[in-house]
Symmetry: C3
Subunit: 397 residues, 3 copies
């Protein structure tokens, strides 16, 4: 299928120009764990904005952490009227209904204060799913959370979360996954040193796929790999390594998902059989400020019996958690951190980079995001044929 037949090329904005430093806004993002939120406000910074999470009568709310009066952090306040859905600012006593952000009293001005019902703090839609708190920071009307939280994640019977505040930008981390980096960067990882591992990819094919299993994903398929080869003038690479093949690597489809690695808007990574066989792994990158993002890792299990659950947990805690989600992924964090220094030296997020064939997956991501991100006003219908994406990309290398 030819893109020019489908739509004019200029309809797709340049990803370089539109990928927002703080992330695409019109999506649900994970923020923290449901068990972390109590009556006492939890302050966070998300997408550069101060936000606080709190509960009232068991229900979860998120508000701008800034009193409209003098900008004081509302999270320094507390509830002066137990049992009500309110929080009172510590500075002058402005009191807000957390369900809608309305100022319902200015205590130090008495019951008849003129600001009552005239002023509001911004509220953010939230939801809870699998023990995680999700927030909608978009300017548009929120979509149903099910549109953004993948089905296979929602169906998991075991959910293990690891979070780190990472140095860098989400745009680099979402372009990190794929065979290109795995075959080199992770080769030295304990996790990979014991697996049978190819040397290079021969034919990477990115493909946008919505087959009703887990929503729409940009999948990285690769039907041919080379185990080792002679590089002219250099020698054979990779050389055999002691320990290779000790651990069986399951490459079979998992719950119908055939690609090892997939991406999805607003920037979610999905990996099958990671960090242990049978696990579905998701990553979210939630930018906090110009230089940091929350690296949100989730390992999902699908046990049906107690024995399956015990096996999964044992393998996760004895091996997958430490060797995979901690150490293996620390290598990725180092590369993204490195990129941030590169950005600071060159003054533009993508700098003077040159790409090679395996980057067709990254180029397909850029094309997919530029076409379909909800933040972009005039975008084609999301039902465009998946092969359009693959056809529209070619590595520059």
């Amino acid at each position: 299928m030819n893109r020019t037949n489908d739509q004019p090329a200029e309809a797709v904005p340049r990803y370089d120009e539109i990928a927002p430093e703080m992330g695409f806004r019109e999506y649900w993002y994970p923020a923290c764990l449901a068990k972390e939120i109590s009556e006492k406000p939890l302050p966070m910074t998300l997408m550069g904005e101060p936000i606080m999470f709190l509960r009232r009568n068991g229900k979860l709310y998120a508000l701008a952490d800034e009193c409209p009066h003098r900008g004081t952090r509302l999270s320094l306040g507390n509830c002066q009227f137990p049992g009500t859905n309110t929080i009172t600012c510590v500075y002058h006593g402005w009191t807000f209904d957390v369900t809608n952000g309305k100022c319902v009293a200015a205590l130090t001005d008495g019951p008849n204060s003129a600001v009552v019902n005239k002023v509001s703090a911004r509220t953010y839609p939230t939801t809870e799913c699998q023990g995680i708190v999700w927030i909608w920071m978009g300017h548009q009307k929120p979509v149903a959370p099910e549109e953004d939280i993948p089905p296979l994640f929602r169906q998991a019977t075991i959910v293990k979360v690891v979070r780190r505040l990472a140095y860098g930008n989400w745009r680099w981390h979402v372009e990190n996954p794929g065979m290109g980096h795995a075959l080199m960067l992770h080769r030295s990882s304990l996790f990979m040193r014991v697996r049978t591992y190819p040397g290079f990819a021969k034919n990477i094919q990115p493909k946008l796929s919505d087959d009703g299993i887990d929503g729409t994903w940009l999948c990285e398929y690769c039907d041919d790999v080379g185990m080792a080869a002679e590089f002219p003038g250099l020698g054979v690479w990779p050389q055999p390594t002691l320990g290779r093949g000790l651990v069986h690597e399951d490459m079979s489809p998992l719950h119908g998902v055939a690609a090892k690695v997939s991406l999805r808007l607003p920037g979610i990574t999905r990996v099958t059989h990671f960090p242990i066989n049978g696990a579905m792994y998701y990553e979210w990158f939630v930018q906090t400020d110009a230089d940091h993002y929350i690296y949100f890792q989730v390992c999902c299990g699908y046990s049906k019996t107690l024995a399956e659950r015990a096996s999964f947990l044992a393998r996760y805690h004895l091996w997958g958690h430490f060797s995979g989600m901690i150490r293996f992924n620390q290598q990725d964090l180092s590369m993204v951190a490195n990129s941030q220094d590169f950005v600071n030296r060159h003054g533009s997020w993508n700098g003077p980079t040159k790409l090679y064939a395996p980057d067709c997956f990254q180029l397909a991501w850029r094309d997919y995001a530029a076409r379909y991100a909800r933040d972009i006003a005039k975008r084609p219908a999301a039902t465009a044929n998946a092969s359009t994406v693959a056809a529209g990309t070619a590595a520059a290398g």
Copy 2:
């Protein structure tokens, strides 16, 4: 009295636009303690400028701490000619008369150096009063110190000083005092938990007053308060607190000053009966750099007998110093620090703030400062009727 009859409204500049980040310059400010200054220079940064204080033959001087030759800190130098009023730069030996800043020798160039009497370091007028060193950093001719140092401060027989380098900007701290914040922010303070304390202000009236007692001050009068009230849909506030009323709060006029809290240019706070009954309390905010200011607190006593003095000192050291000037005022510092982060997020010092009725005192301050600050070239005579200010302000809430 109608302001439009008195003068055209456009004669008053907008305070938002003219309040200087580093403070109004054409005023005397406290800098340090007289006992801290010796022959050896003391370097400070005031209003963003490097300044050094030193004594020669017992007299106090302040000079720009920057050699006109190569910008070296003059405070690194010393006196090469004992008994003279000079300081010599450590780098090349340029020697300055500290009484007028004139270069009187360039030692390494011999007695006939061409720069002698051709080059000067800036000097700043200084004075000593109540053990405190005051500096004039204005560009205009200095006024008599008595114009800026309040009479009741000068008459004190006991002067206790507390200083802290605070994070934030003086413009926020000068707008902190008043009933609005006190009734909420300080309610939780140990200092206030034991006093009878109203719930809210009913009729705050700012009034510019020069009745010959302590110079001109913008006083916050409030002739009616509510002790507690039913807030619709929320409940009664404040709730009774254990300990309230243990300490008698003296609200009587002190030395003729009737208002509890007053403000004065360039940004002085005056509070009666704080931190102990019978004490007059003053605060100065001396900006040092873009993010910090010296928070200068002074507690004044007026003992006539040794017994009065002993009582004052005992109450100050056992209660007022710690519960008042340290802990109570630390709450204010937290709020100002908070505001600085707000400013950094929003990029303008006052940001998108919304005011309420008790802020009529803060609005009156802005109006008063915009009208009368010496920094503003074309301003009406300082004898304008005090009620003009009150009439010209109205809370936006």
Copy 3:
């Protein structure tokens, strides 16, 4: 000789405007010690650029420490093909020939990757001399190292190096040397307190000299000094000091060099008989980032016999190293650090400074650099009469 007869005045650019913050580029600079470089890359930042040094088969190479693919630090990589002149990036396996920077393989893309021979990392010419690694960071074709590394340095039989990462800018340090600062700043130094030391310079004459001994240098000659004098209204200066004259100061020409202090492009200081009699001393200032430079100090000896060598080393290690190169020169570093704060306050590197007669040496440096620096495209021939420089300068004091 009159400058206007020689050439139009406008042919000389203003040094203030053209002296680069990171240093003149078209010169050889010392970077590190030869013994520090091994097969494992050593990362540095020079002139704001990330650079790595490494050896392959014993030979020294320098490359931009930034993979052209994604900007990753190449110095994180290693050699995947032992025995070859390559380094492989840790992220995706791009492999570079360190001799020319060419990408010779992209391992994870297999032997037929399209980027091979299409992409390069920048390489920098290097050389080794006297155990020091030198780098050419210019955009022009490198000159022969002998043009930039002084002959008397290359002929030394003893070379002692001290390096410090200093706070400040090279432009201030290169204007530090000379009699003006020495007679004041270093008077308090242990090193100078034991030497006979004049009070002031009477007739400083900068002279550009290329007499075939050590290349072209701007020499500071001074044929008359005053030991002490009466300063009108102040007294006699300097006063006699206990210990003066204990150590003999050799002022004789050293290997034909008559001036005590000399300067040379791109900013090299040369001092005779420092830090011990008979030693030739050189300083380089290699800027790393906006606020720091490497302060590279070298003490050269010229022993012909074992006894001479032993004497030199004993005097260096027991006295010259500590009292001279460490403590004496620490005074200079303090002054340059001071200047950086001055620059930050005033926003321009040279600020509102005023000069005096001994600064004729510094003005001659500016004139010399503005005329002859290779970075400046249209400059007169380097053979211009030396007296032109002296004639073209006059202290502003």
